[in-house]
Symmetry: D2
Subunit: 448 residues, 4 copies
Amino acid sequence: MQRASPNPTHEARPHGVDEPTYCCNGPMKPSTSSPRPDLTCTYHSVRALTESLAAPLDPEDQVVQSMPDASPTKWHRAHTTWFFEEFVLSGFDGYEPFDPTFRYLFNSYYEAVGPRQPRPRRGMITRPGVTEIEAYRRHVDSAMTEFLGGTRLSIEQAALVELGLHHEQQHQELLLMDALHLLSQNPTIPTYASRPGLSLQAAAGATSLIEHDGGLVEIGHDPDAPGAGFSFDNESPAHRVWLEPFAVENRLVTCGEWREFIDDGGYSRPELWLSDGWHRIGAEGWQAPLYWRSVDGRWQVFGLTGQSGLDPTVPVANVSYYEADAFARWRGARLPTEIEWEVAARLLACNSEESPSHADREAHADHHGQFFGHLWQWTSSAYAPYPGFRPVAGAVGEYNGKFMVDQQVLRGSSFATSPGHERITYRNFFPSAARWAFSGVRIAHDHD
Amino acid sequence: MQRASPNPTHEARPHGVDEPTYCCNGPMKPSTSSPRPDLTCTYHSVRALTESLAAPLDPEDQVVQSMPDASPTKWHRAHTTWFFEEFVLSGFDGYEPFDPTFRYLFNSYYEAVGPRQPRPRRGMITRPGVTEIEAYRRHVDSAMTEFLGGTRLSIEQAALVELGLHHEQQHQELLLMDALHLLSQNPTIPTYASRPGLSLQAAAGATSLIEHDGGLVEIGHDPDAPGAGFSFDNESPAHRVWLEPFAVENRLVTCGEWREFIDDGGYSRPELWLSDGWHRIGAEGWQAPLYWRSVDGRWQVFGLTGQSGLDPTVPVANVSYYEADAFARWRGARLPTEIEWEVAARLLACNSEESPSHADREAHADHHGQFFGHLWQWTSSAYAPYPGFRPVAGAVGEYNGKFMVDQQVLRGSSFATSPGHERITYRNFFPSAARWAFSGVRIAHDHD
Amino acid sequence: MQRASPNPTHEARPHGVDEPTYCCNGPMKPSTSSPRPDLTCTYHSVRALTESLAAPLDPEDQVVQSMPDASPTKWHRAHTTWFFEEFVLSGFDGYEPFDPTFRYLFNSYYEAVGPRQPRPRRGMITRPGVTEIEAYRRHVDSAMTEFLGGTRLSIEQAALVELGLHHEQQHQELLLMDALHLLSQNPTIPTYASRPGLSLQAAAGATSLIEHDGGLVEIGHDPDAPGAGFSFDNESPAHRVWLEPFAVENRLVTCGEWREFIDDGGYSRPELWLSDGWHRIGAEGWQAPLYWRSVDGRWQVFGLTGQSGLDPTVPVANVSYYEADAFARWRGARLPTEIEWEVAARLLACNSEESPSHADREAHADHHGQFFGHLWQWTSSAYAPYPGFRPVAGAVGEYNGKFMVDQQVLRGSSFATSPGHERITYRNFFPSAARWAFSGVRIAHDHD
Amino acid sequence: MQRASPNPTHEARPHGVDEPTYCCNGPMKPSTSSPRPDLTCTYHSVRALTESLAAPLDPEDQVVQSMPDASPTKWHRAHTTWFFEEFVLSGFDGYEPFDPTFRYLFNSYYEAVGPRQPRPRRGMITRPGVTEIEAYRRHVDSAMTEFLGGTRLSIEQAALVELGLHHEQQHQELLLMDALHLLSQNPTIPTYASRPGLSLQAAAGATSLIEHDGGLVEIGHDPDAPGAGFSFDNESPAHRVWLEPFAVENRLVTCGEWREFIDDGGYSRPELWLSDGWHRIGAEGWQAPLYWRSVDGRWQVFGLTGQSGLDPTVPVANVSYYEADAFARWRGARLPTEIEWEVAARLLACNSEESPSHADREAHADHHGQFFGHLWQWTSSAYAPYPGFRPVAGAVGEYNGKFMVDQQVLRGSSFATSPGHERITYRNFFPSAARWAFSGVRIAHDHD
């Protein structure tokens, strides 16, 4: 999954889909000078991956919205394009919007930009169709190529382009999450694609603990540090936190362990559950993770590559925070805070190498601890601003800050996270009841 | 709209869409002998019209379900095909179902056939896509051709084929209703097609009354009468009804009259409304018919041919029973019962001709009274069984009878009703709050 | 239950509650002269019965609203009082309203009177309390006594008083229905009262048919007929109807028969149900009549006198129209229309007596056919205006007409109907899904 | 409000209601020996206060549940009694439960105890009535008197009694919150009581900042510290936290300031709101705090003492977390974390006195900073377990821990908090949208 991965097959086929030609190598970097050939190159790589992810889906698949939280593929393709048009090109002299109505149709939630198509009704927009959205993408790509190549970009402009690319990468994963949810509604059990990289790999081995003695630690992203790459505003400021001693496990909870939880009455014992979770599983009739299906008394699991028998060695996916929390309680343990998670991820990297590059460290973490590239990991931390947090000025300041209530932080990345998009300080977030994200479970312990 | 219409333009372009080649002339007739070349011919004509109606819609348009009451175009195309597969071909020796899962996917509401995709989730079935549905239609058409041509059809078999064709014609109008509703959700104001025949024509002239002295009348369909054509089971038995003197108007209420109703506070005066209607318009914020839109203080009306300024001379469409009833009360009048409607429709025909053929009579009614071919007309009659009503045996007996509660009868036909589908005894029905049908209003009066 | 009943116990204890002193004998009659000592007398009798019905209920019981369709006892007591204040006393010179806010609090649905406490929030009005409502009743009773005794009433005034008394009688039965529903929510299985007259009596004997040859009949109430008593506007005009031959059974369906229906899979066979009914029983989990409870595998039935084992000989109560209709289909029969019901009720009376008085005829019907005094009987007739129906002018015209959609007519009366309130032309009505009314089932048949 | 308050009027009339005779002085203290005359005394004081709070409410007021989150007064009186019966007396030899059904009726949420009356349906239990609940309370009080006086209590037993008393004190405030909500539904604007102590006092003076330089602090409750009093399990363990420099204001936001916020478009500017908050105010139509009412263009505020004109000097009450957060953003500031709140509250106390007793310190905080006795104060901290948190064993372990998701912590206490119930480490919690709690706003600032 990761750029630095030694696994060439994995690298060659991110998401297991037709691979766009990558003309650039290495992470996206900030820059103060322009023109920016590297940004142009990255731009086209990221944009091409979106198209490649949409390719296995027919026009019919791309238009339907399977639930209010999900969006149609076509909408993802248009909205990510809108982002560049609205935040980058609209101020670019001579740019002609592709279609003025798109400003309304494909705004997601930016109140400062103006009114927009209501989120639960994104699936009503059957027109513009897939063909027209493709033309829209080409139109904006062409203007962006000119923009990136022909002008001297200010730091602010370059930062907005970079934000737009990370934004599109987020939507690449959302596109897969949403497509999976849509296909899961179909009683004919369709397959998104059958290539490698679209399903979970087995755990590397036995469980061990990553231990930490507590004390004062520093976490978060410092954008002023030398070599600091891109980050979202919610990862800053870097700041100190006092920790009690703790330990986290070096791998994710597996489907086999989850089956034991079910067999031990996990979904019918109220003492294991948060009160809200207990009411939710009753109201929704949850008896297993979202895509588990009991077929003739045996569990099958539905995924992007289709449906197959439960593999007890792969990480359990598509569980809510409520379920993750209940499982941890069943284990006599708990979930990690996001602070503990970040500290442990760094610790594993630092313990195993002398002076790792950033990329190498993350790669190593991946190999040893399943921190990255498998599943996002629920933490017990509610999504809240870091001390001294300041949203970015302007409409893009709505990107993160306004969602900081009633959500839980997830850390790491998943098999569906785009190459170059993951970071040790990355803060993903979903509501406690969400199950359609590629979410898994890592267990933590108090440590005396 | 009608086959016998003297208006060649109208005839040549039913629904204003690409016209399939009609190889047959005249209404569908029952028959006791087989093979049935005329049935084969009618079969292909009806089937071709469905495809022609779907043609202006892209795959994206054909898959989305805009509300639980509506169905995707693609579903209509498949379900009408399923009807022949399930009720005609499944008993035909050697027939291979196109895909066994379709029995589940495209059953509408036939409990006797088995479980089915829940109605509000028809829009989740993005696969099979439009292309596969087309193959499904070809597969069944081919088998039906063989079935109709090569065997000696029993009366029962011929009746099921004929029922299937009328069933498909009903879905042709539903397809247009549902497509219009879907397109109406789109803020870009798309157009279904811009051909003639897809919009309402202006009223012919001044209003006059069709009066009746009351007394014992006979209404309904007698399937045993000489020359009796096809009918649905809910139109029988023919039976006698005692009527008080009444009069109905010879044309439908127009948009101009409806605008007066609005301007006179029609939607804000509780004394005009049924209690349920008053609560509904408050809860839903109804201030005008479904597809009226106030643009810069002037009414525009959305339809299959797009959106344009209100034409005060055309019949008002897409109103609920509640609104029709309130309008009538505002006029100091009332809606007709379905009995009165049927009697008046016959009366108009009989007064103006000596010995009309059935087709001629209906054509005349159309010319003089807007009974057919404009809009379905709400009646004050709740949908209930006629005295002595017996549903057909078997699963097709679920066709009509099980809906006989909490619906109002509409009579006549609309501009979107398929050629050959209308009858003076036809009983259409919708819930009181439904507005997406092509429904209009005819006023009745007590008559002393 | 009925005034003319030969059963003194029944007569002495209407509703089985403390009996108010009746100073008058005979039905309420219209009159053209005043003062009206008989109206004064009837007024006090009716008003006293309301209080007597409320007496077994504590203040806590009287304030709670158990569902939006039901009203608190306290509200019934106040609203019936408001009716006299609003429609009779407000125009009476020198009358001082008890409390001006009551005009808002205790209006039910009279839009012409003004805004009102929303129906689903009647249970929020904990104040005024029971004591204050009693004072309100005394205040209005005192003014009414003066009004009835001291002035020469116009015909219109007398008619409004009479309407107010029949209105209060309707609320007497509603009070019992609503109280039963409230008590049924209580897991401690409380008892309203344990006196006779509050529960159903066993059927008299074997079933036989009341047959009719069809033809032209007259039904409904003619207010201009000699000796015509009170009626609601919806019972008029009397009018002619053509009937096909039919038969109705001479008694109601029993609990024993209903148990057979259940045991035969009645609630799990879709072919027996209207489509709306089938969906409703699934959504609500209905498996039996509203107040049947399975205790250790045996049916118990909850009622005003408490809970006891199912008695197979008493009429089945508290079933919806959907259930009544499904039962009839299971029996290979159907429900009667309201016309058939009225004709049969008259027929039974006329067959058995030479020249019965109105009261005697009804009494006889009761004895022989369970038409009155047991349970209201669902008919297959939707609630609609009779030909030529004209609502009363003014706010009281909202009494009946505005509810004429999506309701079914019930005929007869129940054990809880107040003495003197029933009529052969009486049209009660409830939505198809309503189960908390004292509703039962009579079976009809086509008759050749 | 507080026991140690120098304000005798306040002390004499907690909650402004009839004062029960206090036979004890000082806070509830843990003890290791028994019999416990002090516990007996405190028991009766607390129990008497509940009755005194219910006294202004009629039986009708005490039975109605105005929304699912609220409970009837009668239920609070019974449930607090059930707590002693279930957790203390049920193991007491020879104790006879008052009524076995109460175990079901008055369990709140203890899954380990068994099934219970569903929370949203607590208002359906009209019986047992107020009189029977009073008998229940006397029955349990009598048994508790015997229990407390006649046996040697174990530490565990004493702890459960103490927990039960603090539990009842929580319900005393809930009783007032819920009563106010119920009365607010009544269009007649009723008054709970008109005594002092039931409404908010004006702010003391000008605003100043309480500043802190950050660093390592310790917060939370250490039950093993010398002289440690009662606390709930969620306040422990005491633990260290690293803080950045911050400041909090020394008083609460006032109604006058809130009116400025409204006048400045506070409720119509999306940039001020969390996304969830913005959608909520739109969906619910919030334009002001819960109990503000615009009367002839001027704000009136409804409260326990009735409705009166807005006093700009008193703290604004009954706002949601969403509103508190938006107000802070409008001010260019933020809400404090619960850590900051606790540190500031201690700071204010320590700065102003040499060696204060615990009670004196809190009293001082009250006088100087409105930390206690006015309104609970929303913090930006999500309700989560402290590091090392362990719920109490057994059913009472459900008390706090299972609610630790999707709630925000409030700190301090309100005018309605019972005497002796408040603590500097106390963690109250409500969902972000809750407005019926006695909640107010304190502003914090980053501090450089």
